[in-house]
Each structure stands twice: as structure tokens, then as C-alpha cells.
């Protein structure tokens, strides 16, 4: 498999038309819609972990079947949520050529991280997705139920993490990792990649499927407060790159740690070629 960024769906396709910038009274329904999204997300998480998720979790079947069921349910709920984000005008997702993502099994899916809802978009396109979730969230009584029934991975330190990841990947779950670690700083292409994704790929002998999230304006970034929904709807185009075959990173000649560095550099190179910088905030885009 080659890594040349050919057949780029995003670049091959007409760029989506930018949305108007809302000011004054026109922003009021957008603001209400934006706040509603947070409310629905929070309530949805709470209600589903009290109703449908326990049913799916305790419905008979092997552990693997039960986890797959919960992952599918989260996938469907997030699909609905992406529809709501689009209805309220926060973000419009363009994901016409993402079959490779939907069909992926037991691979590591990496993506750049421009917005708050990237993981929602990715899971809405994948019926069998897993994530690594920081340990603090596992102590949160509202979240713990969902996280464990979906077979997500707590970050319990490096050595346990690798075993946990191997187990989840063996189950044919795809593992979503944002190598940037946190959302992209506005005005840049991406934050420097941590080597976790590459290390997990090399040590669990797993391919990496790179996803490029292209956005046309900065919205739902880390630098904007949650109660200020974007005035200009964010167009997000989801592009799937060619997979990085783990066999190309042979560790028989060199240490795993070194190969992880090589792979991380190549991943950064791909994103550097494919991603344009997250535009800085501007008021000149008013229409």
C-alpha cells in the first residue's frame, strides 16, 4: 500500500461553499440551537446509560456481541447528533467517500483534531469504534457505564495500555486516536504528534488508517468558549487516506521505539501535505 496522497477526495471534489457569517438578530436562533446541542448531548448520555445501554449490555450473548451492540448504538446516536449539529447550523459534515472507514475492522484510525466534535463525526461513520479515554472520566458516574459497556479503554499506564489495545483490536474494534493529543491550535495545521498511535500500531502489529478532517473556518475550537456557537457554519470534509501498513515498519533491525519515531514522522508528513492551516478567527469573512 502506498502513502502517496493521490485521489484526494477533498481536493478532487469541489470545495463546499462557505456559509454566511451571522450577526445581530440572525445569530439568536443559532445560539439557541448551539446551546440545545450541549443539552441534548448531556441528557442523551445520561438517559441512554439509564435505559437502552443497560438493556443492550445485559441482553444475552457473548461479551464480544454485547460490546459490539453498544458500539453500534453509540454509532446510531452519534449519527443522529451529527444530523442535529447540521440542522442547528453548527457544522455541516461532508462524508460522501468514507466507505473505507465504515468497512474498517481492527485498525487504528487516526485523525487531526480541529473541532470539539471530531470524535462524534468519526464514530457516526464507524459502527465498531473504540477510544482510549482518560482515567478521570472512568470515575465519573454518568460516563462510566457507557464507557465500559462500549468496551472503551482506560489509560492505565503504558504497559497495561498496550495489552488493553491489543485486546480491543483483536475484537475487530477500530481504535480512534488523535495524535495531536488535544484540539488544533487556531492558525496552525496541527499540533506536533505524540507517538502513542505509532507505538500502539508497531507493538500490536496493526495498520493505521489516516483520516483528514478539513474545515473551512475555525469553529468549536479549544480557543472558543462552548457558549459561543460558531457564527459561520463550519464545513467539515472527511477524507480517508491510504492505510499505513505496519509491515513496512520492520522492527527486526531496529528498536520499536525507533520505528515509532519513523512512523510518527511519516504520519506528520502526510498531514502536513494534506491539511491546510486552521484559519485564524476573522470578522472579514462576513457576507
Amino acid at each position: 500500500m502506498s502513502q502517496t496522497p493521490e485521489n484526494s477526495h477533498y481536493h478532487g471534489q469541489a470545495k463546499p461553499k462557505p456559509f454566511p457569517y451571522l450577526t445581530g438578530i440572525a445569530y439568536i436562533p443559532r445560539w439557541i440551537g448551539g446551546v440545545m446541542c450541549y443539552v441534548v448531548f448531556g441528557l442523551g448520555g445520561l438517559l441512554s446509560s439509564l435505559t437502552v445501554l443497560p438493556v443492550l449490555r445485559f441482553w444475552p450473548g457473548s461479551k464480544q456481541r454485547r460490546i459490539a451492540r453498544v458500539q453500534k448504538a453509540v454509532h446510531i446516536m452519534f449519527k443522529g447528533f451529527v444530523w442535529m449539529l447540521s440542522f442547528t447550523g453548527l457544522i455541516k459534515v461532508h462524508s460522501q467517500h468514507t466507505q473505507a472507514l465504515t468497512n474498517a475492522k481492527g485498525v487504528i484510525v487516526i485523525a487531526n483534531h480541529p473541532t470539539l466534535i471530531d470524535v462524534v463525526v468519526l464514530i457516526s461513520l464507524m459502527p465498531n469504534a473504540g477510544c482510549i479515554v482518560k482515567q478521570a472520566l472512568w470515575r465519573n458516574p454518568f460516563m462510566r457505564g457507557v464507557l465500559s459497556s462500549a468496551g472503551y479503554i482506560p489509560n492505565r499506564g503504558a504497559d497495561l495500555l498496550l495489552t488493553d489495545c491489543q485486546q480491543v483490536l483483536n475484537r475487530q474494534t477500530n481504535l480512534i486516536i488523535f495524535p495531536e493529543g488535544t484540539r488544533t491550535v487556531v492558525g496552525t495545521k496541527f499540533n506536533p504528534f505524540a507517538r502513542g498511535a505509532a507505538n500502539i500500531a508497531i507493538r500490536t502489529h496493526t495498520d493505521i488508517l489516516p483520516v483528514m478532517l478539513h474545515v473551512d473556518v475555525a469553529g468549536l475550537t479549544k480557543q472558543q468558549p462552548w457558549y459561543e456557537p460558531p457564527r459561520q457554519t463550519v464545513n467539515m470534509s472527511v477524507e480517508i487516506g491510504a492505510a499505513f501498513d505496519h509491515l513496512r515498519y520492520d522492527t527486526s533491525q531496529s528498536s520499536d521505539a525507533k520505528m515509532a519515531r519513523v512512523l510518527t514522522r511519516e504520519l506528520e508528513q502526510l498531514y502536513s501535505q494534506q491539511i491546510t492551516a486552521l484559519p485564524p478567527f476573522s470578522v472579514t469573512t462576513k457576507t
Partner: protein
């Protein structure tokens, strides 16, 4: 391998060979995670490598508080005395 210089030499060799670190960046006060850019998975590898080289078992707790090159040297020195 009792004295500190020898321990530092061994550690430097591991860092250069296994982790692509430049020898001139390694000093006693260099921090492993910030200035030498090791991550938590590298730290596990480093412990395994140190165990192989010294033939001593290293408890993860002994390595929890390690931050700098000097901390590693101290930890190894302590192990060799036991």
C-alpha cells in the same frame, strides 16, 4: 558497573541507540520527558533495557518518581548496592 560515570555511560548508550537521542543533549540535569522527549511507552522500554544491562529487577514504583537523567543514575546506583 559500580561507579556513577559508568552508569551514566551505559544510560547514554541506551538513549542514543534505542531512542534516537543526541549524545550531546544528555546531561545529568536533562529531564527525560521534556528535554529528551521520551514518552511513557519509551519509559517502559528503558526500564526493560536497564534490567537487561544490570541484571537487576527494577520495581515500577522505583521508577515512578524518576524525572531526570540523574534520577535514573541514582536509582541504578541504589540497585547495584543492594
Amino acid at each position: 558497573m559500580q561507579n556513577r560515570d559508568q552508569i551514566l555511560e551505559m544510560l547514554t548508550q541506551i538513549l542514543v541507540d534505542e531512542f534516537e537521542i543526541e549524545a550531546e543533549d544528555i546531561s545529568l540535569d536533562a529531564s527525560l520527558y521534556e528535554s529528551l522527549d521520551l514518552d511513557s511507552i519509551d519509559a517502559v522500554d528503558l526500564v526493560i533495557k536497564l534490567q537487561q544491562m544490570t541484571g537487576k529487577k527494577i520495581q515500577p514504583e522505583q521508577f515512578k518518581t524518576v524525572r531526570t537523567v540523574e534520577d535514573v543514575v541514582n536509582a541504578i546506583e541504589g540497585l547495584m548496592k543492594d
